[in-house]
Amino acid sequence: MATITTLSEAVAAVVRDGDTVALEGFTHLIPVAAGQEIIRQRRRDLTLVRMTPDIVYDQMIGAGCARKLIFSWAGNPGVGSLHRFRDAVQHGWPVPLEIEEHSHAGMANRYVAGASGLPFAVLRGYAGTDLPEHTDTVKPITCPFTGEVLTAVPALNPDVGIVHAQQADRNGNVQFWGITGVHKEVVLASRRSLVTVEEVVDTLSVRPGATVLPGWTIDHVAEVPGGAHPSYAMGYSDRDNAYYRAWDGISRDRASFGEWLAGVR
């Protein structure tokens, strides 16, 4: 059964130096506040996993939390590049960043395999691209019935999976709706999980399109209203497009990023 606690206690309980940590949320319900709490707790040597490293991972990478990134698309959506990510990859600043690069289809299937207790997943993917040459975790696999050659990717089972959701009840049952990305998969695939929520309510009233995760699948729940900002929580907030644009300036050089970082810490 999920423990309902504060964000700082929850992050302290689940995230350790050296862990493999996945913060997910596909444009929507991104656990940004949890990422900043990881920065505040000065975690180091993390292997960060995320399909779409965007502002939250740019912040964590710039703060020096990560030694490796497993991902499929690293950008500021609708705006441009992630400057802290580029600085880490191109110049090793503030620490060198190893990368393991996939496609979205590959990453999504890696989480599916992880949630399913399988060591790998099969897809039609990567064919003819240069990704397999640089990524060890992409291999061919042959169909035992047709002989057709497809692509295998290994399961992702992070030490910690963190997502943001709209609501939890007092037993830690969680519901989220709207664009749900790989929320369910990352919680089920991870050894430990934390869900930050807009609101803890007495009873969940299930919404159309909502997914409900029973409290016994989750380790910690923390109420963090606005915890997805600048991304959004459908029904609670709108995407702060201006902040995404503003981040381009904040993150562009090390000095202005440093000022931002001092403010968070």
Binding site: G75, G78, A108, L123, G128
Partner: protein, 247 residues
Amino acid sequence: MNWTADEMMTVAAARALHPGTRCFVGIGLPSTAANLARRTHAPDLVLVYESGTIGAKPDRLPLSIGDGVLAETADAVVGVPEMFNYWLQPGRIDIGFLGAAQIDRFGNINTTVIGDDYREPKVRLPGAGGAPEIAASCSEVIVIVRQNSRTFVDGVDFVTSLGHGHGASDRARHNLRGAGPVMVITDLGILTPDPETRELTQTHLHPGVSLDQAVDATGWNLRVADPPVVTDPPSGTELSALRSLKE
């Protein structure tokens, strides 16, 4: 009515989408073009975004592929694994609409790194996202990209998404079901693959664009249709729909 080269490009891309087409839309120019088509000749266009929204009918241009307006207006919203596995992979989507940082004469696309060394790139780009499997699995691919010699290169630094590989039989060799790029729409004109060799050929020029401009903007020895067709200029209806969309 005057128009910009980008407006002409977007209008040309919108025109390429037939009514009822199921279209896998990336953010930026593809999304603008697809939404323009929906406002003009193809109101029943089915917009599919990789965030899981199927049949989205946004009333304003989304800034990201996961804007709330997409989920609110969609016929169905599915998880990202389902989007790729049940909807894209089996070939249910007619058109994949992609951009590019680099593109070569066979329509191969790079959105990963600029520079020879993947581990020490000159410029690190965002990476693959959904593009490799969109390029593989949609029945056809349309690329929208500005034509200049930095982008139109003689050999991409990294193949993120396979176009026609090294020529006619390459997609079949990789067992890909979709036909690959059938059209590259730029701010100067339109390129289509030669039916035999699959090499991109400049078949259309937008009004006021010279052949020399297109040749100069291309980093390889550009093949040209003789003569290239001149694209119809944007109509007043198209332009006003496009401009109101961007307000």
